[in-house]
């Protein structure tokens, strides 16, 4: 059992990294698409000779994105009733992320007894917020018709897994480690420094079950919305307001796109040729047949 957990845990970490890298590569190497922007305020196109103006500063945009991600501002403004539980859940996750960083860092840098006493409470607060948030989301999803419509039932399994992870972590800290920070740090130290293989092969039930559920979550993570947020902002930062100028990277990429072969089959498209050729062939364009309709 212990060996299985060990393999599953490290395997899931490896899988998470590889699968995330594959998916990110797929998006990073995607062709530069046509501009299809949306604007929440005035754009550079309000200016004359707009292509000579500088795009918005990177720092300002980054600040906006960080606030969006941390505070879920879009949900706050547009779906407030859903935002409450969603924000609690994410706030808890962010705190737990920081808490785990603190655990790993403290476990290998300072004597366990000198660690911050408040560390435990910090973790519990994060867990509680996420638990309440996740439970609230599940409840809303189940009873609110708007949140329920089209929501795949299998997604409730994801929420169950998350609740098990949160509850498992809390119970392990309280019962297995007796809410004792040095004991917890000692355990983490053994894990991250790869000491004591015997300990790893025969873990205690409390931490093992927590790790077990986390492993499944790591397997799911590359396909979750977490990674999609990355895709969303990649385009925003990389190309958003950058004009296509002569000799630029954008122009080079557009030329590459126009050299791609055409595969579509409708009568007005000549399949097999390159895009750049097909778009110049307008001489033979013919009307499509329509049903003759007196009432039309």
């Amino acid at each position: 059992m212990g060996g299985t957990v060990l393999v599953l845990f490290y395997g899931s970490i490896l899988f998470c990294i590889i699968a995330s890298a594959v998916r990110m590569t797929k998006y990073l190497t995607a062709p530069l698409h046509l501009r299809w922007e949306l604007y929440q305020e005035s754009s550079v196109y309000e200016l004359r000779d707009w292509w000579q103006k500088s795009p918005r500063r990177f720092g300002k945009r980054l600040r906006g994105v960080i606030l969006d991600v941390l505070l879920l501002r879009e949900f706050y403004h547009r779906n407030r009733s859903f935002w409450y539980f969603l924000f609690l859940f994410h706030l808890g996750l962010y705190l737990l992320f920081v808490w785990h960083l603190w655990l790993f860092f403290t476990a290998v840098t300072i004597p366990f007894e000198a660690a911050w006493d408040g560390g435990l409470a910090f973790g519990h607060i994060g867990t509680a917020l996420s638990f309440v948030g996740a439970s609230g989301i599940v409840f809303r999803r189940a009873v609110d018709r708007e949140l329920n419509v089209y929501y795949p039932r299998v997604h409730y399994v994801k929420w169950l897994l998350i609740l098990l992870i949160l509850a498992g972590g809390f119970l392990a800290v309280v019962f297995h480690f007796d809410s004792d920070v040095p004991q917890l740090l000692r355990y983490v130290n053994i894990q991250v420094t790869f000491q004591d293989l015997e300990h790893k092969l025969h873990p205690a039930l409390g931490p093992a079950s927590h790790v077990f559920f986390v492993s499944f979550w790591l397997l799911y993570l590359p396909f979750s919305h977490v990674l999609r947020i990355f895709f969303r902002y990649y385009q925003y930062f990389r190309w958003d307001d950058v004009p296509n100028t002569s000799g630029s990277t954008i122009e080079r990429k557009v030329k590459e796109n126009l050299a791609r072969p055409v595969g579509w089959s409708a009568p007005h498209i000549k399949s097999g040729k390159a895009w750049g050729e097909v778009i110049r062939e307008t001489e033979d364009l013919k009307e499509w047949k329509v049903v003759e309709d007196e009432e039309n």
Partner: protein, 534 residues
Amino acid sequence: MKTKKTRVGGISRGGDEPLLEISSEDWITLPCTTDQPVSIRPLTDEQKKQLEHSLDGVSALGIPKPKNKAEEEKLVQAFLNGLRRLLSQDDNWTFWEPLVYSLESCVRCQTCSDACPIYVSSGKQEIYRPTYRGEVLRRIINKYIKRGGRISSKLYGEEIDLNWPTVARLAELAYRCTLCRRCAQACPMGVDNALISREIRKLLSQELGIAPQELHNSGTVLQLRKGSTTGMTPLALRDNIEFLEEEIEEIAGRRIEIPIDKEGAEFLLLHNAGEFLSWPENTEAFAIIFDALGISWTLSSDPGGYDVGNYGTWYDDFQLVRIAVRHAEIAKHLKVGKILIGECGHAHKALLVLADRLLTGELNIPRESAIPLLEDAVCNGRIKLDPSRNDFPVTLHDPCNMVRLTGIVEPQRRILRKICPQFREMEPHGVDNYCCGGGSGFAIMSSRNFPDWKMNIAGRMKFKQILEAFQDAGDPETRKYVCAPCSNCKGQIRDLLSYYGAREKYNIFYGGLAELIANAMVDLERPFIEWEWH
């Protein structure tokens, strides 16, 4: 208000029975009485026999029913092939990334639903929900394209069958969305359900050869073959321009030349074809303003050069690119400094925004909107204006393509605040505006009973907004002006005001932005706006 509970899998149901029986009882209430019959005309028996109509009893596309099972299967297979192409980076480099992101990232929070004027106006009918068609497409992809899809589809409980009724209904459904992208603006995840509609349209056009005849045959094909979606020839354009010059002379008291094909001009002004046929006063107003500014400009009589519209934007990438390239080639041929885009919303999107990832080398000629230039003229005192000439209630319709999709939000309202003492905003406005209901080509789609649907459902929210904007505008005799700086929006607003009798009942007129500027110009001998109905 009752709402219909339509399951996603219902789209695969066989037979002609519509998924939705449209009923006027469900629609949102307008702040007026209307003489129009509050219903949508049913198709004739002959039409029902010939054409697909099992979505909601309306036929926008006029899709003929397949003659037999074999033909049905062939069409379904073609749809599946097209779907594979939509998901291929090579075949769909134009929109692969935002499409795949949108298909994969919906969290089903339905935040977008209440943002959709069609969904809300219809009384929240499930099939018009912005996420409905995306959900259908996603389920088809999961089941028929992804490996192990048939098993995972069962596991997820995602009922769907890809058969001819599904394809036929989905095709019509792609034309129950104006692509205004208000749903995308509302989505906290950045999912663009309007793009999904567009990509379904594209699949149908580029693989099955299915598109509304108004957009394809008498739209992009006519424009590429003859030069304009109106069928106007270069010779007819020149005659038209001569007539406009005579009209200007009557108003201005002197002859003002409208330059055509002037090589080396600073600006090539591209108008929508509608400005030459239906709203010539817009072309005249631009000529008067540009003359007063003393700038170097020209129109083009090259086929395509007098129609900046690009209906390819709404249904077909190849037609979109062909038309954009044609416009750029005309500008290159005339050796102009810049292309200036007139009051045409979707030309802003196509030529300014989309084409910035399309045109290269000598074809990548600087392009900008005419609105900032007009703002400069008005707000920096470059022409003499008397705002009291515009002392009547004016409201502004924000064309989705110019505002939410291109980000030109403030210049037009700065102009109106300066020259229209009774300017009032619609609510909501700016990037949160509602579509006129004629977006994505609907303004020119008028076959069968689609116009009824367009007036009663797609345009309902806009008409409500217009009435509300003028509620405090005094008695019905007061002339009121809806400023719509977009040719397509003007067409739709004209049809809405006519349909509901708003001109007769409330004296509501409509027109462009340049007309209001020209009307305020002190140098003109007589008022520019003549309050005539076009």
